[in-house]
Symmetry: C2
Subunit: 361 residues, 2 copies
Amino acid sequence: MPDSHRQVRQVFLQTIDHAADAQAPLQSLPQPYLLFLGDTVEEGFAKTAFGLRDWAPDKCTGEYALVGAAVSTGLPAMTPQEAQRAGARSLLIGVANSGGVLADNWLPALVEALEAGLDIVSGLHMRLSESPVLAATAERLGRRLIDVRHPPRDIQVGTGRKRSGKRLLTVGTDCALGKKYTALAVARAFADRGVSTDFRATGQTGIMIAGGGVPMDAVVSDFEAGAAEMLSPDAAPDHWDVIEGQGSLFHPAYAAVSMGLLHGSQPDCIIVCHHPGRTEMLGTPGYALPSVEEVIDLNLRIGSRTNAAIRCAGLSFNTAHLSAEQAHALMEAESQRLGLPVADPIRGGAAFDRLIDRCLA
Amino acid sequence: MPDSHRQVRQVFLQTIDHAADAQAPLQSLPQPYLLFLGDTVEEGFAKTAFGLRDWAPDKCTGEYALVGAAVSTGLPAMTPQEAQRAGARSLLIGVANSGGVLADNWLPALVEALEAGLDIVSGLHMRLSESPVLAATAERLGRRLIDVRHPPRDIQVGTGRKRSGKRLLTVGTDCALGKKYTALAVARAFADRGVSTDFRATGQTGIMIAGGGVPMDAVVSDFEAGAAEMLSPDAAPDHWDVIEGQGSLFHPAYAAVSMGLLHGSQPDCIIVCHHPGRTEMLGTPGYALPSVEEVIDLNLRIGSRTNAAIRCAGLSFNTAHLSAEQAHALMEAESQRLGLPVADPIRGGAAFDRLIDRCLA
C-alpha cells in the first residue's frame, strides 16, 4: 500500500466513527474478513474487495480466489480454514457479476467457508438464503448469512422539499471509477478543515466501510429519490453531507439509479469522477464514454431541478495507471482547458487542496 | 361516456386481444369489478378507476367511495353487497395515495367486500396480504387477494443492445395526464392503418387493461432499464411497440422510473403528453411544470444515448377541461409555434391523423 493509500485509509477510520455516531448504530458485521474473489477476471467487478483492502486493511485477513480468477488484492492467499485459524470470522463476497447474482460455481467455496467456521457477508442483490444449499448448510452449522444490501423498510416517495444544510455528490462518466473513494477523501479533507461533515454511503462497499447508509441500486424505482432524501436529512446550515455517487446518467443500464440519487440528494456541489483513457462504458460494449463536459452539463441541468444553486466544483481523476509525471501533466492540462480544479484524491497534493477550496467556496 | 370515449374504448378491446396473443396469457382476474375510490379528493390519484371506466366499462359494475371522497367515475354507487348481487366478482382498488400504501381507513370497507363474497384486486406497491386483518379475513372466507404490481422474477440488467423493430414511447411534462390513454389510442390508430403493433403496458391500470406488461415503478432501480428492454423484445423490422410512459424526467420523485424506461425502450419516436393549464407538478408543491420544449429537448438528449435516431413526432394534449373550440384553437396555435402536430387522442380528428402520419413517417 503506497503512503497515499495509507493516509486515505485514515479518512475511513475517522469517517466511520463519525458516521456511526450520526446514523444508526454500526451493524455488528463479523470481522475480520476473508475477501472472496470468485473467478473474476475484470478489476471493475472486484471493487468491493479493493475498497475493503484500501479502506479497512486491518479488517481483512486475506483473499480467496477460484481457479481462473485474474485479479488480486495483494493480500495473502488463504483457504477458508487457514483464514479461520488466522482469526477471520467471515468470508466477505468481494466481487459482483453483472446483475449481482450468486454464481453457481461459487457455491462449493461458500459451503467450504461455512464448514470452516466462517459466516458469509454479501452485498449482492440476490440474498444468500435464496440458495437452498447455503441456507441448509448455515442452519445445520449455526452460521450466519448476512446480506448488507437491504434497503430500509420505511422509505417514502420523494417530496422535492428543500432541506437545510449543504450537500456534495460525486457523479461519474461511468461506473466503477472512484466515486466512493472521492467521497471518502473529500469527507476527510472537510473534517481536516474543521467543517462538520458526514460521509453518506450508497453502495454495499461504502455501507460495509461506514456501517450505515442506503443501498441505492436495491431501492424500488418509485422510491429512489425518496431514499436519497432520507439518506441526507435536514442538518445545520454549515454542515456538509458528502454523498457517494452511483452509476452514471450516461450508463444505458444504471442511469435510473443516478437520476434518483441526483434529484433526491439536492446537491449544492458535484464533483465529476473520471478514468482518463477509458473509452467504453463498463459492461456495455459499443457505448463510448461521454466527455467530462457532457457529464458536467447534464448533471447540472438535471440537478438544478431540485437545487437551482447546484454547481460543479471540479473533477476527480483516477490516475492509478499513470506515472506521477503523466498524471500531473494531464490534470494540469485538463484543469486549464476546463477552468476547474482537477485532482486525484489518492495522490492528494495542491491540486486536491484547490478542489476542496472550490467545494467550500 | 361521449362518443369519442366509446370509439377509443374499442381500441382497448382489440388491443388486449392482440396483447394477450403476443405476451404471457392473460391473468384470470375476477371480473366484473366494483371500483373502490377510498376517500380520494384529487382526480389525479384516482386514475386507475378512471382508466378502467373509460377502457373497460363492461367490466365495471359500479363504484364504492368512502365518506369524504370528492371524485366519482359516474358509474352507479353500490355497496359491496349490492355489487355482488349485481354480478361483481371483485373489488378493484381504483385509487393510489402518494406511496401506494393501503390506508388504514380503507380496511373496514375491504373487509366488508371480502365478507360480501368479493375478491380484492390491487395495483398498490404494498401487498394486500401485508395487512394482517385482510390476510386473516381472506383466508377465513376463502377469498383471493390479488396484487397485479408484481414485476417478473427474471429481470436482467440492461445491455443497451439495439433491438430490431420500431418503438414509440409516450413521455410527459408530469404524471397522470394521459400517457396511457395516448399509447392505447396510438396503438389502435396504427392497427387501423394495417401496421403490426403491440401496446406495452407499464403501470397497474395498463396491465389490468392489457393483461400483461411490466409494472415499471415497482422494479428495483438497478434493473429498471433491463425491465424496459424485456418489455419490448426484438421484433420484425416494420413492427411497432407502443409503450406506455411513466412519470416525467422533471418530476422530483419519479424521474428515475422515466429515465430507465427511456433508456431501455430505445424509442425511435416519442410523443410528449401535456395537460394545458396545469402549472404545478402533481404532489410536489412549488415545482412548476416544465415547458413542452424543455421536455422534448431533455427526452431527445437522453434517449439519443440508446437510439441515435430518436425523434419527437408531436404532442398529445389532455383538453378534457376545455370546450371543443378552445381546444382546437389552442392545439392549432401550439402546433404552429412548435412546428409539430398537436392533438388530443380523445377528440381524434385531422390533428390526430397528422400526429399518426408523423409517427409513421
